[in-house]
Assembly symmetry: D3
Homo-oligomer: 337 residues x 6
Amino acid sequence: MKPINQLRIQDEFVGFYLLKELNLRQTSGTPPKDYFDIVLSDATGQISAKYWDVTIQDKETFFPMQLVKIQGTVQSYRDQPQVKISRIRRATDDDGVSITDYVKAAPLRPVDLLHTIKLAIKSIAHEEIRMIVTYCADKVEDKLMHYPAAKSYHHAYFAGLAYHIVRMLEIGDFICKQRPFLNPDLIKAGIILHDIAKPEEMIAQMGIVTDYSNQGKLIGHIALASGWIVEAAIHHGISLDSELVLGLQHLVLSHHNLGEWGSPVQPQTAEAVALHYIDMMDAKLQMVEDALDTTAPSEPWTPMIRGLENKALYRLKIEEESVRSGNEKETIAPPSG
Amino acid sequence: MKPINQLRIQDEFVGFYLLKELNLRQTSGTPPKDYFDIVLSDATGQISAKYWDVTIQDKETFFPMQLVKIQGTVQSYRDQPQVKISRIRRATDDDGVSITDYVKAAPLRPVDLLHTIKLAIKSIAHEEIRMIVTYCADKVEDKLMHYPAAKSYHHAYFAGLAYHIVRMLEIGDFICKQRPFLNPDLIKAGIILHDIAKPEEMIAQMGIVTDYSNQGKLIGHIALASGWIVEAAIHHGISLDSELVLGLQHLVLSHHNLGEWGSPVQPQTAEAVALHYIDMMDAKLQMVEDALDTTAPSEPWTPMIRGLENKALYRLKIEEESVRSGNEKETIAPPSG
Amino acid sequence: MKPINQLRIQDEFVGFYLLKELNLRQTSGTPPKDYFDIVLSDATGQISAKYWDVTIQDKETFFPMQLVKIQGTVQSYRDQPQVKISRIRRATDDDGVSITDYVKAAPLRPVDLLHTIKLAIKSIAHEEIRMIVTYCADKVEDKLMHYPAAKSYHHAYFAGLAYHIVRMLEIGDFICKQRPFLNPDLIKAGIILHDIAKPEEMIAQMGIVTDYSNQGKLIGHIALASGWIVEAAIHHGISLDSELVLGLQHLVLSHHNLGEWGSPVQPQTAEAVALHYIDMMDAKLQMVEDALDTTAPSEPWTPMIRGLENKALYRLKIEEESVRSGNEKETIAPPSG
Amino acid sequence: MKPINQLRIQDEFVGFYLLKELNLRQTSGTPPKDYFDIVLSDATGQISAKYWDVTIQDKETFFPMQLVKIQGTVQSYRDQPQVKISRIRRATDDDGVSITDYVKAAPLRPVDLLHTIKLAIKSIAHEEIRMIVTYCADKVEDKLMHYPAAKSYHHAYFAGLAYHIVRMLEIGDFICKQRPFLNPDLIKAGIILHDIAKPEEMIAQMGIVTDYSNQGKLIGHIALASGWIVEAAIHHGISLDSELVLGLQHLVLSHHNLGEWGSPVQPQTAEAVALHYIDMMDAKLQMVEDALDTTAPSEPWTPMIRGLENKALYRLKIEEESVRSGNEKETIAPPSG
Amino acid sequence: MKPINQLRIQDEFVGFYLLKELNLRQTSGTPPKDYFDIVLSDATGQISAKYWDVTIQDKETFFPMQLVKIQGTVQSYRDQPQVKISRIRRATDDDGVSITDYVKAAPLRPVDLLHTIKLAIKSIAHEEIRMIVTYCADKVEDKLMHYPAAKSYHHAYFAGLAYHIVRMLEIGDFICKQRPFLNPDLIKAGIILHDIAKPEEMIAQMGIVTDYSNQGKLIGHIALASGWIVEAAIHHGISLDSELVLGLQHLVLSHHNLGEWGSPVQPQTAEAVALHYIDMMDAKLQMVEDALDTTAPSEPWTPMIRGLENKALYRLKIEEESVRSGNEKETIAPPSG
Amino acid sequence: MKPINQLRIQDEFVGFYLLKELNLRQTSGTPPKDYFDIVLSDATGQISAKYWDVTIQDKETFFPMQLVKIQGTVQSYRDQPQVKISRIRRATDDDGVSITDYVKAAPLRPVDLLHTIKLAIKSIAHEEIRMIVTYCADKVEDKLMHYPAAKSYHHAYFAGLAYHIVRMLEIGDFICKQRPFLNPDLIKAGIILHDIAKPEEMIAQMGIVTDYSNQGKLIGHIALASGWIVEAAIHHGISLDSELVLGLQHLVLSHHNLGEWGSPVQPQTAEAVALHYIDMMDAKLQMVEDALDTTAPSEPWTPMIRGLENKALYRLKIEEESVRSGNEKETIAPPSG
């Protein structure tokens, strides 16, 4: 079964794919006929597809985010490959395929990511900090198994949020060793809490954000997470005026650094400054890595990336070249005589 | 007893004033002597003053924000009036003077302002909204009797915050009648809650802000008030996911309108849009009124006002002039012939 | 006859509608045929339509902004309703329909709006101010009967400008009572004059702006109105250097508050500050009201609104919910023991 | 008689100078004594000065902007030269000195500048344009003899405005020849009118702006000049809706290019674009020339210049150096062998 | 043979044109057929075209930027003219047509432009400056014969860069005469060097930029040219620390004036300030001239121009009108009596 | 010998200190007397000092940046401690003190920092990259022993630049292991080259920047370093068009990320993105660490830090508090009953 990024024009193929998008349309003929306008996807990419001559039964059978078995041909439409589907049926339990194999996902298993996050929480020495972090993480434990970190900005895939947290924990661990004045408990807590309300802000299925929630639009994940810390403190009888509640709320509230990026206060503790740059370091380099991964190796330039000042990335070809020997025309000598 | 804004150079006077600022300094002579560098104030203004030859006992007697009885002379120093204090003593209970008479204050009595605010709360029809507003207002009831609304931006005086709320309630009442699609309960709640955590954000005495609190700097009054709504809802068993908690948090979080002005989300309900403009209307016009009030009537221009695009205000003299009769030189006629 | 916002797919209907847009197009067939691409509108909304097989006579009969009688069927095209017109004719006098019934209009009759504006002018106590305001308002009296206040930003409908003025006069009246230091004559004059040159800036028909005039693009309504005040003063022999001409020009020139919003000077009189916020209060809340009105009540979110920081508005559902009783899972208790 | 920029510490001197600033102060001794804190100036620069032991008669004799005869010594105060005045008297007619010799002035005589401007007006071929320009220029003819072009930004000296206009006319003349599609009448008119209301905006004496007028603050020179064009057109019976009035108002209104720089509309005619850049070219290069002129030739860097992105200017020393012969250490050769 | 800007719907024509764009597409029929989607251009403009029934041989014959002979008919498609090509063949040497006649080009011949630039270089008096300028100009001499100055911003046509340099040299010559403190050698050098690396930054054919080069994207023409000056100095044994190398690098690095416009340093020499405004004056007025030239004379407004604050330009009609005689209704008289 | 940060008012002391600043002033008495206005410093901080009755010989003996032996008394002046110097002499070789002990310095020895940097260069696998980095580093090897990384922004002390490079190399090493797609040679090269021209941009003595050089102001360290790469490539006969020269120049040119921060191009390779965030991470956390170190441990807040959004930093006191047990008043319970 061919992965989508290997389908070429004129290929005929059979295989299981995800109905990432599915819309019912009508042809412009007389009388107009129903057809499905489809986006098929698997873990390697996506491709547009058409299924003509849709029946009434088809309309009640197929929906977005289902796994289906397809028989089709790859055609060319406006210079782009497009699948003409000749046969389609829903996947069944007997097919032995799992939807998680068909979505772009973090490179580590969710269960392992969650395990790492839990170990990090357990390693927080300060009891009250650990209790608050645990309370908040428990609220979204299920969603951490699959939520992305953002709609499209970065880590926009299955378990992307958990993966973002885990990589940040690695950076946090390094930076606490390099700069011992940082409090490792606060760094760990800040990393785990900073985006913890994202699953409440977004509505996602299989790592794909379809919309923001009302809470997400009207409160936002930053104020939501700050409220969860209040909740957790009340639940555990920890004073809301204590330095630790103050410090944790500050970490969450300030982690976007500037008001125009959504933070009502700016970083004013050592750990809050560190948290912002740990977050930036991981998010930006993940954008870079993902852009390079999803661009064909033969392409020197990736598409433009909104989170990187809307610039494309160039693959330098350092190794292949021989730049010194006998490249006479570039050698510049002072004039003789 | 002369109010400060009527003291003129060479006046000799006796009276009660507030020690708004008091600093111990040394003269540059040999040996240096201690003296007090003082700012005296009353409800009409302030003036700088010196008290020479400070004794050890004086140092233990006089502190900022005390009421004192002064005998002094107004001299001129660098073209500015300055009081040379010849005698000074602390005011006693027998003097029958009250500190509240010596600070700039809202034009209505705090007790009346608070009464108006409580009536407004009582008039909120929706029970849960009323319960949450009551819970939050109760937290700062004492401070509402005297706190200013800001350090210097607007309503920066005794009970300025309560006065700001009361005037906004008047505007809110009008606007709800003019535009019946607005929910009066939410408008009232928004007005009372929007700055309710200001007394927690600032440290103030007699209406004068001396600093921001740690909570104020690291969390800010907007996220603090949002957290109080969470607290109140938990206390009263109101679901945190309910539309009313969502709506109230949104009102508070969005009332500064833009991220760069401190709001992590922008107004996205009818009442949130209204609240922002009710707040602006009252704050800006109060700046105007206060600037005109504290500028001598003979001055056509006030000082520059930071909150009004850093512009000064001009007093138009519309009534005094006669602009039409016989003002020949301004009459412009088409050329004859 | 069905209003447009009640037409549903597969409806067959007959009725009078406005040809808001009408373009002649050709089909892609061989040979291509002419057809009309149409937008029908009435006071409740608009819908796209097609009229196939256009004759030479049709081309000379139908033009935009005409009232027509239509017989048609509602079909679905790209998931959107679209009318297929089977018969069409121009409305005649005998039909007893008026174009003003088919455009979105202010909720009050133009004649009543104009009457209110004239009463407000008459109530200006200061003779010269009243003369100048009258002179300027007379210039556009006819257009005040139907001009919108803006192309799309706010009050973009029949008599929208007059409606905007009238609602602002209500706010101005309230605020002058609340803050007696404001000069009511200047507030009224500022409200009436601030957008008085808008009809010269825009080209509009039936409340729909089709373009900006050359004067509008090269001078703008702010400098135009300032010039009208000069004209009026010359006409009435009022000194151009008088405080009242200065004050009126300043109100008009500064009412957009900032240079980047089109004001060459910033508000520097009490009334100029008030005018800007009265304008904002009315314009923003009208955007809110119009967005909610034109969004189906079943939709929780309106479309995005450019004038409100490009945000959509959410309809809170406060009344319907029961948020306290027995909502056990949300109740948070301190840990027992 | 020594010019100010040649006075050195320990010089004793006698001469005529301008009292650019004069303030009465008191010493800090007991009893305090009156003294004058003075800024002396002439066409070459300025220097601070003190006159001790001021008499009652002195206070009634000396005022700012007078010419005086001084006998004094140059001392050093805080590393800066400062004049100690031993004798002072007002200049009389018999002294044969003229205040115009003691202020920084444009390098051409005002009468010649005005003559050039009048010739330019006379050369405008289009009668109505010429009439309007004449009308506006006549309003400020007297002030053109001495007004600066700005308070400090550029051309801030005696007759600076007329000089700015004359140099711009030279540039305008060149650019109309280089690009014949530009209308020379409009270019000349735009140059003469663009800052024509500056003398109404500012209050200046001897080329030194002491303040902005009320008209200047509340209307600004841009809207003022636009109003003068309206006046002129009415006076001469030229239609306010004509293209030429539109074109002239647009030139004036748009010449600051952007809203945040004070222009309510942006340049939208060929001549308006040209006018903005002619203005910039002349204003910026004059700032450069003046900064270099008033900085001692031995200084490689001028002070920072606000109008040039707040940067200082460097004097390159191109001619003096010998940069090639035998400068072995800088010669970079490819590695041998 | 008709120029493109004179082709009208229903014209049948034969002629030579440039294949500015050519894309192979498929019809939506069954089976789909190949056709060419084409943009034809000549020196007067461009038009879209279709060539149906493309053969295999056609696909190997026709490519973008070729000259072809066309027989076609002008049809109307979506209200726009579109050519239906009936016959097409490549132009041959015997046809006597030259591609340079078919592209928009500077109004002077490249060979003359280059000659003028070389004369300017020769006239640089300072030997080392002349050597460096010569070295850099030689690097792109061939490309100066045809490269545009920008992709679309300004001078975006055949030899546009050379034309931009030549016109700037004219302005530079004038301004050096008007302000003798400017060093003419540096002005000439700055003008020639400021955009000298543009041909390395962009990939262009026949004056049409198709893309930016890797060097252009990753280094940019400003840092590239600064590096060329380093190269030239090394080549000629001129000290890299000399004032002249410093001055030349500064001219190039600062000529965009602000960091956000691409200059890592701001102008800080007299000549650098002058260079920026000479560049602006020429670029902006060329945008104006080109926009007016390519807009039909009957159109009062040009399209919007990105480089001119995204504004369109208006053609004033000053000459045609008679604005004074008997235009009674506009004459404003003071009230009589 | 007491370190400066332990001097208290009324201390009498003898010791060696650095004359960080020294200015000759005159007293205001008659006749005025010369005195030295001094700032003394050592590695722990600085303090102001006065030395009265300066002799002619003193003026020729003492200069800034000298080590001196002082006998003095700490007095109080305007509430600040100030040293009155009674005896002063220059330190001699026999005193056995080294200036490097008296300046704030990086926590590692310069010789060790340089050794680490050299090892990093040696570890670059790609020969040409290593050659270019070596060439550039050799240019400033001496200065790397003591130059700061900036005037005041961050690492503003002795060998601060080398320390900045070494800590960044640690981060770079970590991040290359965490994200193997990054090229370690380019990361190392980018880290060493990014600020390599800073010593040419600034004039510093003992880690204290006194000014920027002409090169620094007119070219800037970013374009300077880019030019050095050109030089190095020419020197080693490496093609200027090669991918590696392109990649290295791009790293240097883009490392400030945005045009307004001084980068003429934005990061567009994976390593350039990484370099910017490695730089930010180190610079910002060093600002944090230095601010906390130089603020007395008893102070909860540091001064404001310009590089951290102009915010102060707060020291959270997490460990000391007991926040849960019996803090009854903060425990919030749902209402009973």
